[in-house]
C-alpha cells in the first residue's frame, strides 16, 4: 500500500503544474491581445510608413540680385561623390578607399589635414599582425578589455613612423578613408566635390562594386562679381554640429546645405529650396513632387557703387605712407539712403566683418547728438555761448579743443569742433558747477545716462536692426568719472560703423531713425519667360523711433554740418579744405579720437559722418579709419575716402555705369569647405 500512498500526490501536483502552464499562456494571450487588438492600428500605421520610400532631390537655393537687377549670387551645378557609412564594414571601407584613389586627385593639403589619431587608426586596421606585436601576450591577458589594449597600441605608435611606413601612394588612400569615416551612419556624406564629367561617368559604371558610393548633383554658389561684398553674402555649407538639432527639428536632413553666415544664414528660410520628392509606395508606384528653387533676394546694394567704394578704399589706403597704420590697415564705409534705410554699399578694406562687429571710439562725429541732447534737456538753448578754453578739473581728465577758440556758440562748436563746448554741456547735465563742486562729481552718473539715452535715439550704442546675424552694439556701460567729460566728444564709448551710418542717416533726414536693411524684396523664382518672379514680400522702410528734438533743433545742427564742409576761411569748417569745391552741397562732421594702440594715445581713429545734398539728402555716409598714426600727413584719410565715395555716388547717378563682372575663376567659385577634389 506504500506504493499507492506515494502515488496519490501525483494527480494533484500534475494539476498544479498544468495550472502554472495555463497562467503562463494566459499572460501570452493577454499580451497578444494588447499588442494586436489595442495597439494594432498604431503598429499598422508604422508599417505602412515603413513601406513607403521617399527620395529627396536637392533643390537649388534662391539667387541674390542687386538693386538694379544684376545677379550677384548665382548657382552652378556640380557633381559630388558621396559615401554612406554603415557600422561594421571596416574592411569594405578600406577597399573602397583604395579603389577611389584612381579617380580622385588628392593633393598635399588633403594629406596634411590627416591627424595623428587617423594615421594610427588606419595603420592598426591595415596591419593587424604588426599591431598585435606592439602588445605582448602577458599585457594582453592583463588588460583584458579590447579598448585598453587599443589605447596601449596607440601609445606605442609614433606618428612619424606610421606615416613613413605607409608610403606615398597609400597616403592617398588614407586621405580618402579619413574623409569617408567622418560621415554619420546611414546618411550620405560628401567626400569629394566638383568631379568632372569623365570621372563621374567612370565611377557610375563601377558603382555596383563600390557599396555606399553615390554621385549627387549639387548646386553650389557662384559670385559673378568675385570678392565684392562676398563677406556679407555669407557662406553655405553642411550643417554644423551645434545647429544640427535645430535644423533637424525644422525638417532638414543631415546632408543638407544651409547658409552658415551673414545673408545666407539670416535669410535661410527664404533662400532654401523646396526639395523635389519622389515617393514610392509599397506597391512600387512612383509619384513626384517637383519641388522648387528657393526664393530670390533683391538686395538694396548697388553693385556698381559697391565696386567704386571698394576701389576708393583700396586707392586711398594704397597711396597712404607705410607707417600710416599702427596695426593692419583697416577702413570701413557704409552708404545708405537716409529716407529708407536701404544700404547702398558697405565696404571694408580686406572684406572683414567689422562693419557690424567692430567697435570704435568715433571722436567728434558724435557732437551733433551731444548738442541735441543739450537742447532737449534744457541745459543749453539755441545760440548758447561758452568760452572755449582748456578746463582742468579735479578728478577728471583735462579737456581742451584742438585750438583755443574763444567764445563759441552751438553752431560754431560743430563747425570748428569744440571739445570744451561739449564738456560744458556734460557738466551742466551732471549739475557740476565750475569752481564750486571741486571733486564732487556725484551728478556724473545722471549725465552718463542722459547722454547715452539720447545717443541711443540715433542708434549709437544700441542695435541698429540690420538684417544680419551677430550684430554687436558697442561698449556703453562704463561709469568712470575721470572719463565723463570725454564722452560727449566721442572718446569714451565705442560704436560700430553700422551705428555711425544710422546716426548719419538720422541727422540727414531730420530725426527719424531708419532701420538699415540689405534686402529690398523677396521674389519667387522666375519661370521660363518672365524677366523676374512675382514679389513675395516687399521690405517697406521702417522708422525705429523719432528723436525727441524739434525740427528747429535739427536745422541748427544740419546748418552746423553744412558749415563744416562748406564754410572756408579762418575759423571755417574742419572739412572745408576737402569739400568746399564739391558741387553736391555736402554736410558732415569730422572726428578724430585719440586711442592707445601700442602706447598711450599713440593713434587716431579717423571718422566722418556726412550726407548730401544738404537741402534734400539722397545719401548718408559713415566712414571710420581706425588706428592710424598721429602724424599730420596721415590725418586726412577719412575725409578723402568720404569725398571720393560721395563723388563716386553722384557720378554714378549721372552716368549709370554697370558693375564689372569678375573674370577670376577662383574668386567666382569660392571653395565652400575642405572636402577632397
Amino acid at each position: 500500500m506504500v506504493r499507492e500512498k506515494r502515488k496519490n500526490h501525483i494527480p494533484i501536483r500534475l494539476n498544479v503544474l498544468f495550472f502554472a502552464v495555463f497562467i503562463l499562456f494566459s499572460v501570452l494571450i493577454l499580451r497578444l491581445g494588447y499588442i494586436q487588438i489595442v495597439q494594432g492600428e498604431e503598429y499598422e500605421e508604422m508599417v505602412n510608413n515603413n513601406g513607403e520610400q521617399t527620395a529627396n532631390v536637392d533643390a537649388p537655393r534662391g539667387l541674390m540680385f542687386d538693386r538694379n537687377g544684376n545677379t550677384v549670387v548665382d548657382n552652378e551645378l556640380e557633381l559630388t561623390l558621396t559615401y554612406t557609412n554603415r557600422p561594421g564594414n571596416d574592411e569594405e571601407m578600406l577597399e573602397i578607399a583604395e579603389r577611389l584613389t584612381q579617380f580622385l586627385d588628392i593633393d598635399e593639403d588633403d594629406i596634411d589635414d590627416i591627424n595623428e589619431r587617423e594615421w594610427q587608426d588606419y595603420w592598426l586596421q591595415t596591419r593587424e599582425d604588426e599591431a598585435d606585436e606592439l602588445v605582448s601576450d602577458e599585457e594582453e591577458a592583463e588588460l583584458e578589455e579590447d579598448d585598453d589594449i587599443y589605447e596601449l597600441q596607440l601609445e606605442r605608435l609614433p606618428e612619424e613612423e606610421v606615416i613613413d611606413d605607409i608610403g606615398e601612394e597609400e597616403q592617398e588612400t588614407v586621405a580618402i578613408w579619413t574623409e569617408m569615416m567622418t560621415g554619420y551612419n546611414y546618411a550620405p556624406h560628401r567626400i569629394a566635390r566638383g568631379l568632372d564629367e569623365e570621372t563621374a561617368h567612370a565611377l557610375s559604371e563601377l558603382m555596383h562594386e563600390l557599396p555606399g558610393i553615390d554621385i549627387m548633383r549639387d548646386s553650389v554658389r557662384a559670385y559673378p562679381y568675385g570678392e565684392s561684398f562676398s563677406t556679407f553674402f555669407g557662406s553655405t555649407g553642411q550643417i554644423t554640429e551645434g545647429e544640427l538639432d535645430q535644423y533637424l527639428g525644422e525638417g532638414y536632413e543631415r546632408t543638407d546645405i544651409v547658409g552658415n553666415s551673414q545673408l545666407e544664414d539670416e535669410y535661410e528660410s527664404v533662400l532654401r529650396g523646396e526639395k523635389a520628392e519622389i515617393t514610392t509606395d509599397a506597391d512600387g508606384n512612383e509619384s513626384t513632387d517637383p519641388g522648387a528653387r528657393g526664393n530670390d533676394l533683391v538686395l538694396t546694394i548697388d553693385m556698381a557703387l559697391q565696386q567704386e567704394v571698394e576701389d576708393v578704399i583700396d586707392d586711398n589706403i594704397g597711396s597712404a605712407s607705410g607707417g600710416t597704420f599702427l596695426n593692419e590697415p583697416e577702413a570701413h564705409v557704409i552708404m545708405m539712403e537716409p529716407d529708407t534705410g536701404d544700404i547702398l554699399s558697405m565696404a571694408s578694406y580686406d572684406n572683414d566683418v567689422n562693419l557690424v562687429m567692430g567697435q570704435y571710439e568715433i571722436g567728434s562725429t558724435v557732437k551733433m547728438a551731444t548738442v541735441l541732447a543739450g537742447y532737449e534737456s534744457g541745459v543749453i538753448g539755441h545760440g548758447t555761448v561758452y568760452e572755449d578754453t582748456p578746463i582742468n578739473l579735479p578728478a577728471s581728465q583735462p579737456v581742451s579743443s584742438w585750438q583755443n577758440m574763444g567764445a563759441v556758440n552751438d553752431i560754431d562748436a560743430i563747425r570748428r569742433s569744440s571739445n570744451v563746448y561739449m564738456s560744458r554741456i556734460a557738466m551742466e547735465m551732471a549739475d557740476y558747477e565750475l569752481g564750486v563742486d571741486g571733486r564732487d562729481w556725484s551728478g556724473a552718473d545722471q549725465g552718463f545716462d542722459m547722454l547715452r539715452n539720447h545717443y541711443a535715439q540715433f542708434g549709437l550704442g544700441t542695435e541698429t536692426g540690420i538684417d544680419l546675424p551677430n550684430e554687436v552694439t558697442g561698449t556703453t556701460d562704463g561709469y568712470n568719472i575721470g572719463n565723463y567729460l570725454m564722452l560727449p566728444f566721442g572718446q569714451y564709448d565705442t560704436y560700430t560703423p553700422m551705428q555711425m551710418a544710422q546716426f548719419a542717416a538720422t541727422m540727414a533726414n531730420g530725426g527719424d531713425r531708419m532701420q538699415p536693411t540689405l534686402v529690398r524684396e523677396i521674389l519667387e523664382p522666375a519661370t521660363g519667360d518672365e524677366e523676374s518672379g512675382s514679389v513675395v514680400r516687399q521690405n517697406s522702410p521702417e522708422v525705429m523711433n523719432s528723436v525727441d528734438n524739434s525740427n528747429e533743433d535739427f536745422e541748427r545742427m544740419q546748418e552746423g554740418m553744412r558749415q563744416v564742409m562748406q564754410q572756408s576761411g579762418s575759423n571755417g569748417g574742419t572739412a572745408s579744405d576737402d569739400f568746399d569745391d564739391a558741387d553736391y552741397n555736402p554736410a558732415g562732421k569730422t572726428g578724430t579720437a585719440q586711442v592707445s594702440v601700442h602706447e598711450v594715445n599713440d593713434g587716431y581713429n579717423q571718422g566722418m559722418v556726412a550726407y548730401a545734398p544738404h537741402d534734400d539728402p539722397e545719401v548718408a555716409i559713415a566712414v571710420i579709419v581706425p588706428e592710424t598714426s598721429t602724424s599730420d600727413e596721415d590725418s586726412g584719410l577719412a575725409n578723402s575716402i568720404t569725398r571720393d565715395a560721395l563723388d563716386a555716388y553722384f557720378d554714378l547717378q549721372e552716368d549709370g555705369a554697370e558693375p564689372e563682372e569678375s573674370d577670376d575663376e577662383d574668386e567666382i567659385y569660392q571653395d565652400p569647405d575642405d572636402d577632397l577634389g
Binding site: 503562463l24 499562456f25 501570452l28 494594432g40 508604422m46
Partner: protein, 386 residues
Amino acid sequence: MKPYNNEKQYDINMMFVLFIFAVVSCFYVYLAQQQEQYETNFVIMQIAFYVISFAVAFAIMHFDFEYYLNLHWFLYGFGLFMLIALAIAPESLAPETEGATRWFNLGPINLQPSEFMKVFIIISLSAVIYQHNNMYTPKEFRSDIWLLAKMGGIIVPPIILLYDQPDMGMVMMMIAIAVGLTLISGISYKLLAFLYGIPALLFGAFIVLYFRFPEVLQRLLFDHMADYQVNRFHGWLQPLENPDDGFQVAQAMTAIGSGGLTGSSEHNVYFPEAHTDLIFAVVGMETGFIGTALVITLYFILFYQIMMTAIRCHHSFGTYMSAGVIALFTFQVFQNIGMNLGLLPVTGFTLPLMSYGGSSLLSSLLAIGIVLGVYYHSKSYFFEEE
C-alpha cells in the same frame, strides 16, 4: 478476467495533434518564405523533416520506457561526453559562431549536443526521483533535501558546460525542467515556496527597480557589469528605445502588432530569422490575433494530451517523464513567444514543432516519442479505483 487490458495502444489523439502541427507549421513556413530575403523552398524540407522525425518518434515509442530506469546513466553520460567533446573539439569540428560554440559541424549536418542533453536530463531526473521515492517513505524534510541535492548533482555538470559555450538559453531550459520536476516529485510545498519564492522576489524587485528607480539599479548592478551585458537588458526591457540591441524584437513586435485581429496582407516588415526563431511573428502578422490565439490553443491541447498520458500512466516514472516534457515545451514556447512579444530577452530558441529546422524538430519529437511510449506501454485499467 484480468483487471487490466494488456493490449498496446497508440495514442491516436496525440498523433492527430502532431499532424495538425505539421500542417500549420508548413503553412506558416510557406508564408515566411514569401519574404524577399529567402530563395530556398523551406516547405518541402520541413515536410521531409517532419516525416523523418516522426519516424524516429514512432520507433522510440515502441521502446518500453521502464528500460530507461536502467539505461539513464548511460544516456546521461553520453550527453555529457558530447558536451565535453564540443568544449575541447578543434575549431574545424566545432565552429565558433557569434562568440559561442554550440554545435558540431559534421559535413552537411549540424549537431547540437544540448538539444539531446535536454531530453536525457528529463529521463535522468525522472529516474532519480522515482528511485528516491521508492527508497524513502514516508517522505520527510531530510529526504526532500537529499532528493534536491541529487537532482542538483545531475543538472549542474551540463549547466557548467553550457555556461561555458556560452548558451544561457539552454542553461535556463535545464533549470526550467528541474523546476517542473521538483514540483511533481512530491517535495513539500513549504520547501518549494522557499526555493522558488526567493528568486521570484528578486526578479520582481529587479523589474520594479529597472522601471521605477533606474539610478539605484545602475549603482548596484550595472556599474559592475560589462557594457554588452547591460545593453542586452536595455534591449530586452526597452526594445523600441534601443533599436540596435532590440532590433529583432522591435521588428517582431511591429510585425505582430500590424497583424491586428485578422492579419494583414502586406508583407513588408522585414525581420531576420522569419522562418525559424521568429516564426511566431509571421503567425501574428499574417493571421492576426485569431492565428496567434489558435496556435497557442494548439500548444495547450498538446500539453493536455501529454498531461492525460501522465495521469493515465500508473507507473510514476512515466508520469515524471511526461511532466518533464511538459516543462520542457512550456519553457520553450513561453520563452520564444515571450521574446516575440517583448516580454522576455532574446535567446536563440525555436518555437517547438512550428519553426523550420531539422535539429529542432528531431529533438522535439524525441521528447514526444518518449511520451507516446509511456502511453503505449501503460496498462489501462477497466475499473479505475478512486
